[in-house]
């Protein structure tokens, strides 16, 4: 089986890798590009720990093949902070203690960021529905929702 050469843009940088066509985008990010922030909780689209955006659309990177990334623009958790400066969502997650083990956190941050770009002023219900595909075994979700609402409010104030 021949590997396929893939060129794509990840967090603003052009990168290339050789992918076995059966490898998922998540496999390629983690194993070929060393970007291990995106996690594999299930590998079957159920948990959201592998969330990234592709051309601005939120997806589960375990449900896309690496070879499908050719020519796309991908954003992962690694691109969220601006150098040492955390994104407001990241800061609010720390302030609200919206994580325990942290395994779900990268996916939830990426998903929440995608929500706030589409809808800067979501209701709590909208946040809960948007994040319904992001599972967390630790926090009970409440602090996550509060952190997202608080970050949204701060970001609206700053804008």
């Amino acid at each position: 089986m021949s590997k396929i050469h893939v060129t794509t843009v990840v967090n603003g940088d052009e990168v290339e890798f050789l992918a076995d066509p059966r490898e998922t985008l998540l496999d390629c990010l983690r194993d070929h590009l060393g970007l291990t922030g995106s996690k594999e909780g299930c590998g079957t689209g159920d948990c959201g720990a592998c969330s990234v955006t592709v051309d601005g659309v939120l997806i589960s990177s375990c449900l896309m093949l690496g070879v499908e990334a050719q020519g796309k623009k991908i954003e992962t958790i690694e691109g969220m902070a601006n150098g040492e400066e955390l994104h407001p969502l990241q800061r609010k997650f720390i302030e609200h203690a919206a994580l325990q083990c942290g395994f779900c956190t990268p996916g939830i941050l990426v998903a929440a960021k995608a929500l706030l770009e589409k809808n800067p002023d979501p209701t709590e219900t909208e946040v809960r529905y948007w994040l319904a595909g992001n599972l967390c075994r630790c926090t009970g979700y409440d602090k996550i929702i509060r952190a997202v609402m608080d970050a949204a409010s701060e970001m609206r104030g700053a804008a």
Partner: protein, 288 residues
Amino acid sequence: MDFHTPSSFEDASKLAAEATGLTRFLAGGTDVLVQMRSGTVLPDNLIDLKHIPGAQDITRTPDGGWRIGIAVSGARLGDHAELVADWPGVVEGMELVGSTQVQGRATLVGNLCNGSPAADSVPGLVAAQASVEITGLTGVRTVPVEDIPAGPGKTTLQPGDVISGILLPPRGENGGDAYQRFTPRTEMDIAVAGCAISLRVDGDTITEARVAVGAVAPTVRLVPDAADALIGSTLDDAAIDALVVAVRAACNPIDDKRGTAEFRTDVAGVLAKRVAQIAYGRAKGEAQ
């Protein structure tokens, strides 16, 4: 596994027909990748259809209907205000599929061709009298959506057949459609029963109707008796009772951990009643 990216449906059809071993088309991949991961389907050939011109487009047809490209995701469908205004029931069915992340990839065609009896977008398409354009070895033909599912995981598509577009008829005046399903959890669950209805009114009287049920038989089913119960009525109690009886009579569900056959049959009737009321309200232009 070989990965193909044909640039026309004719090439995709030829590739599929000539390929040896197991072949799958790739639209959003939200079924295919899960099956690859679990090992239930390990394709030798994967034919990605997303690069074919038109695959990503939603366009008005000359008759006032719609042509939906095979790679249009649920998220893009939901963002299309004009399409949502015409066919809210079709769109709400698709939007129930999976999470936000799944919505970013999953397509109507994939939902249909995966052949699940519980596929959430299929009852809405059937009620709307949607059809699919199929590009096959002998040319292009158009087939009603209800003729595609053949049983759990099975379709009537032949080797070399690839769906090249979904066609929705013109909505026309005073029409409305809706879909609802029952799931034990609010989100991220598979339908235990589902029902879609599309209808048209003249004043208060229903003049046309199509009723489809999901997850209560080996395939999504069109229920003509249920439509007959609505046509000519003003959705009065007698019509609703007759609708519920006809829908339940069409149910032939399985018993499983998510719902007994008896429960699924009962719920299908309840959903039919609610969905009829929503579709009727939409047809009359009442905000819903």
